[in-house]
């Protein structure tokens, strides 16, 4: 009896092993292939991903795509854990700023040879900043899915400016001083004793923290070019923090400063998340919003009647544009057993006008693909689109420092809380500097 059990056990073990080893790459290009695919497009955008997959499988009926949605705030952890254990899906969404965490040479597929075999030069297809963020140590390891170069656009509500007695075109802020002036007028004209409509909250979190957008815009990066040294103690970065302090004092001082904004956040925005804050702009509880191009679609679908404009960020030295070097991309797993098929799908969802181009158009957001941005649905937006494209092409970040937004964001979001209870801006930034340096050391 014992021997019989042993035989059965060994047979099961061997057959399981054989099955596991039998999943070698199919050599037949038209044979059935199943690709696993992780993405972060939740909510209304899941349907767009479904369409993308349906379009692809209509052209490639032999391919089955098994898509898995993961929320953006959980994706890094999930991807790094999968990369560490060799269980990444065939096609995986990453943030190009995660290269340092992912060690691409060990975990992702180098796409150079695949692109070369297809005679594809990504610089010919993609917006400059989008092409450059695909590289790690001189090789392409991912391709952009959506545009990242347009973060730091200045959205403004024209109706609220009119209501405050200003001309939405002539009075639109062009630099920091005019921004301060316009904000002050707007807040004073639209509120009585209680703050119901704000101009802007410098510590809102949309895409990137505003501190980073403004300090990079002024030429003061928060991290060294090699991504190893925190520069939150840099006088230029500190000057940004002090300018924000001045903004809060000048615009909201009469209402209680940071305290008033915090109360407004709780009362009007409804909560303290980025999603709630964009909602406040949509609901016309705030007049200005610094965010990325994805906000266009959100605002349009959230408030069809709102008349809003987009201009470059009114920085300290005049208008400046995009600051983001990194953004959402797709990569191929280094251990994929269907690399060729996965690469074909990757192309469709990144550099193909029919695939990713359509995905971006459906969202009303600019595409990393240069040609897609000439779509009539975009160009019909007139000045707004012209400003946006202009902004996208002003890639002002020096090299490619990884900002690690998810790490830095909460610390900067905490500044108003800490200021309100007596910590000096210098002490706060010194502590953020320490914390960020500790983080960068951990990566080394």
């Amino acid at each position: 009896m014992k021997r019989a059990f042993l035989v059965v056990f060994i047979v099961v073990l061997i057959s399981t092993g054989l099955w596991a080893n039998g999943k070698a790459e199919s050599t037949d290009p038209d044979g059935p292939v199943t690709l696993t695919y992780w993405h972060l497009w939740g909510g209304s955008r899941t349907a767009l991903v479904d369409n993308l997959i349906a379009d692809y499988t209509a052209i490639h009926p032999n391919v089955t795509i098994e898509a898995t949605f993961t929320p953006p705030n959980e994706l890094l952890k999930k991807v790094v854990q999968a990369a560490g254990t060799g269980t990444l899906p065939d096609v995986v969404q990453i943030h190009s700023g995660w290269y340092q965490d992912l060690m691409p040479e060990m975990t992702l597929t180098n796409l150079d040879d695949y692109l070369k075999a297809d005679n594809i030069v990504i610089e010919d297809i993609l917006v400059g900043a989008e092409a450059s963020r695909s590289y790690y140590n001189g090789s392409v390891y991912s391709l952009p899915n959506v545009n990242a170069g347009a973060q730091g656009l200045f959205f403004y509500n024209k109706d609220l400016m009119k209501k405050a007695g200003m001309d939405p075109v002539a009075d639109a802020p062009t630099d920091w001083d005019s921004f301060l002036e316009v904000s002050k007028t707007l807040v004073e004209e639209l509120n009585d004793d209680q703050l119901n409509v704000i101009a802007w909250d410098p510590y809102q979190m949309a895409g990137q923290p505003a501190t980073i957008i403004f300090s990079y815009g002024a030429g003061f990066p928060t991290v060294s070019d090699d991504g190893k040294k925190s520069q939150f103690n840099d006088p230029g970065v500190l000057a940004t923090a002090r300018a924000f302090e001045e903004y809060v004092d000048t615009v909201y001082g009469k209402f209680g400063g940071y305290r008033a904004i915090l109360e407004w956040n709780s009362r009007i925005a409804g909560a303290d998340t980025g999603a709630a804050q964009v909602q406040a702009f949509i609901n016309e509880g705030q007049a200005f919003y610094v965010s990325g191009s994805w906000t266009i679609g959100q605002v349009k679908s959230g408030n069809e009647n709102m008349d809003f404009g987009i201009i470059a960020v009114p920085g300290f030295n005049g208008p400046h544009g995009a600051t983001a070097k990194h953004g959402w991309s797709y990569a191929l797993s280094g251990t994929s057993e269907n690399k060729q098929a996965a690469y074909e799908f990757l192309k469709f969802i990144t550099i193909d006008e029919d695939g990713n181009g359509a995905f971006c158009i459906a969202q009303g957001r600019p595409s990393p693909i240069t040609a897609t941005n000439q779509d009539p649905s975009f160009t019909a937006m007139g000045d707004m689109w012209t400003n946006l494209v202009l902004s996208m092409n002003r890639d002002i970040v020096p090299v490619a420092p990884d900002i690690h937004m998810d790490i830095v964001k909460p610390w900067l979001r905490d500044v108003p809380n800490r200021r309100m209870f007596g910590e000096s801006i210098e002490d706060i930034y010194a502590s953020i500097h320490l914390q960020y340096q500790d983080y960068l050391d951990d990566l080394d």
Binding site: D272, N417, M420, F421, I428
Partner: protein, 306 residues
Amino acid sequence: MIPRGQYMLIRDKGPAHVRLGTILLFLTPWLVSLIVLWYGPIFYTIGLSFMKYRLIGGGHYIGLDNYIETFTDPFFWKGLSNTFVFTAMFIPANFVLGLMTAWLLSSDIPAKGLFRSIIYIPAVLPVIAILVLGKFLFYPNGLVNSFLDIFGLPGPFWLANPKLIKPTSVMLMIWQCGTAMVIYLGALKAVPNHYYEAAEIDGLGRFGQFMRITIPLISPTIFFRAVMDLIFGLMIFIPGLVLPEGNVPGGPGNASRYYALHLYEKAFQRFNLGEASTLATILIIISFLITFLIMKTSERFVHYEA
């Protein structure tokens, strides 16, 4: 000679004896899980604490570097002090609330079954649900501040004030005092009634009875709860992640950066598993030392029945 009727771990097929193999067979699931799922990871973690180890790329031995790094890290000390302060507030608060509710509900009050259920329900809810709900209560314009406003009191910024975030966390965590209440209820029921009758004859009041009879007799239960709450307090993590204003983990101003949150960030945000293992090892040692110290001194204040 082994006396008849005693179980022996010998290879004897006699009816009064249990075979060693049979015993081991029944113990195996527990032993395997104890070794593989408990002691294995503990020793593995201790091993990793001497390595520079990242999730991707493996690791190598670096001696005591992680320990030096950890002891010179200001956020390690911040996490440790925050955790101790939280625990120091949580243990007495949970003890008083748990014991008081149990004492009240062990007496003859109407609808005590209903009250017991109401107090116990939060204990079966996930902590995260309580904290998310609590967050809405403690917002600047939340229910708590609206209530204070009725009396003309200015509502504080519970979740944005570095001085208030820990007491607010404790207030929310003791919603789960139902577990302590049930255990204390059981202990109170076990106190023989004739002690109270004798004390009453001697003229001892209710408070005196509580202090001189109830507390000494349920002291083993209080001790057990204190140790459990201590372990819970040292592992506190979620309030630091969920509660702070602006969704700032460990905020405001690192006032809720608890030890376990610091460990979590090292391990799962920065993937520095070597240093995270060092933090875990230090926590094991701290927990062990404190528990050992309490056990050693417990004879002075815990009265076991002879």
